[in-house]
Symmetry: C2
Subunit: 153 residues, 2 copies
DNA sequence: TTATTGAATGCATAATTATACATAATTTTG
DNA sequence: CAAAATTATGTATAATTATGCATTCAATAA
């Protein structure tokens, strides 16, 4: 992976940025915007790019527009979340997640969002989160689930 | 609104059903499925229908497929949620939501999913939910937000 | 009932998107 | 390094989707 891949990633990244900030109604329009940013590709390439990026096309008042898929956002978010977590440990009844200072709230929010059926609730301080499992849940299992979720280890 | 509108609603309803249960790759395919259900329309009409229904087109391993938009699901869900809530009250530091028996977990889940920036967490029993606001949040404001969210009053 | 209005739809086709194929660029293998 | 294999992309065009216009049909008014 060298020059070429970097360019592709850069293009993909820019595509996502453009889609997030502007209303893109078609691929020709997207090509023009890319060109303004010194990236010149054809509509055909964009068709492939959008597919690979999982970009969705959704009805809006002025016609169909392209949007980053919710899943994509989720993954992007998950990636950043992983960087903020230091450790996940547990005793017989609770799970404790340590994060970098000031990050606990955000990580806890992310966990809440997953609306797991195994979690009763979370409480977050500044750098610590306590996860309370629902009764009937195996702690070990939930710990592993959280590790997977947060992309740890 | 009589015969005509009923037919349209019926078609729209069937379209949503078909999209939910099958992978629909294009409008011609959708037209054929509708025809099998005694509803005959052209691709042009389906193009308009899909737009009106807010149906999104999303990349899948085998090509782009049509899917019911998350928003659409959300609204449908929200509608049912409203039916389950009895009351929303609060004291100076907590909000208590009363639901019909056995519904609290589901409603709490729904609230968690909104990942509000004003909610620290929720704890749900059988018919009661306790919502813990983040410090710095006005209870009144959050109560109103929850009412709007749940479609109460 | 008949006339009028507006919505819904089909038809024809424009606009947009996807893709087969050829080529070039990049990476890998020996 | 040269050859082989893989990947990316443009071109041309096929496939799909969207839409202007005309028509039909249901709803409403007279």
């Amino acid at each position: 992976m060298h020059k070429k891949n970097e360019e592709i990633q850069k293009r993909h990244s820019l595509i996502k940025h453009l889609i997030s900030s502007d209303d893109i109604y078609n691929q020709t329009q997207l090509a023009k915007l890319l060109k303004q940013n010194k990236i010149t590709v054809t509509q055909a390439t964009l068709s492939r790019d959008l597919f690979e990026l999982g970009v969705v096309r959704v009805p809006s008042p002025n016609g169909n527009v392209y949007r980053i898929s919710p899943d994509e956002n989720k993954n992007a978010f998950q990636y950043r979340i992983a960087e903020e977590v230091i450790s996940i440990d547990s005793n017989e009844s609770l799970i404790v997640i340590k994060t970098y200072t000031g990050r606990a709230q955000g990580v806890a929010l992310f966990i809440d969002r997953q609306n797991s059926n195994e979690i009763l609730g979370t409480i977050a301080g500044d750098d610590t989160i306590i996860v309370v499992p629902k009764s009937g849940t195996t702690i070990i299992k939930l710990v592993n689930e959280l590790k997977t979720l947060l992309g740890i280890k």
